[in-house]
């Protein structure tokens, strides 16, 4: 069964304290791995897509990396406005649900000033 696990469930950082969020996956075949940010009361906001092991993407203080088993979202010198829930999702090859994303449970990030 395809599975996506995110850790930690919650992470509290001081402003400027860099850290990483983890997304490990067990899937039959990976077509893509996606990172989203979700603020309370809003829909997920797209951040990155990674397609193959070794790929990296950056945007401001965020950097996403991908291996054959997991992805990391590195946050460098975070600010309070980076506080949100970060969701990881995978798109798998084949199967009966060609287009669906399978999501992890998310990591709730809180950055204190």
């Amino acid at each position: 069964e395809d599975q996506v696990t995110q850790s930690p469930e919650a992470l509290r950082l001081q402003e400027g304290e860099s850290s990483s969020l983890n997304c490990s996956y067990t899937v039959s075949g990976l077509r893509g791995l996606f990172w989203y940010r979700q603020d309370p009361g809003k829909g997920p906001e797209f951040l990155f897509t990674l397609y193959s092991a070794g790929e990296e993407k950056e945007k401001e203080r965020l950097k996403a990396t991908l291996t054959k088993k997991e992805s990391f979202l590195h946050i460098t010198a975070p600010k309070p406005e980076d506080s949100a829930t970060y969701l990881c999702a995978v798109l798998i090859t084949g199967g009966t649900s060609y287009g669906k994303l399978t999501f992890g449970q998310g990591t709730i990030l809180t950055v204190h000033p």
Binding site: F46, L101, T102
Partner: protein, 113 residues
Amino acid sequence: GAGVSQSPSNKVTEKGKDVELRCDPISGHTALYWYRQSLGQGLEFLIYFQGNSAPDKSGLPSDRFSAERTGGSVSTLTIQRTQQEDSAVYLCASSFSGRGEQYFGPGTRLTVT
């Protein structure tokens, strides 16, 4: 440009009533998805429309749930004879081709009393 829009933003209904939730995808996007987000359940796939193909209904939890997409654009998710366990945030997303990133709307918060 305009993002994915959903209406209503909030819906309170009595157990046993039918509800309709609406989604307007991003113009030009051929793929449309419905997901459900509940506390403790994460984001759960419901249904996927791609162009004129038959929809992938594999995520619908029961036959009380149905969805249609008219003219390849607007979609309506209908829940008949609502139950308290249907209370959740219903999210709609669209993507350009069904293989890339999905862009989410703000969601409809459904409360069944």
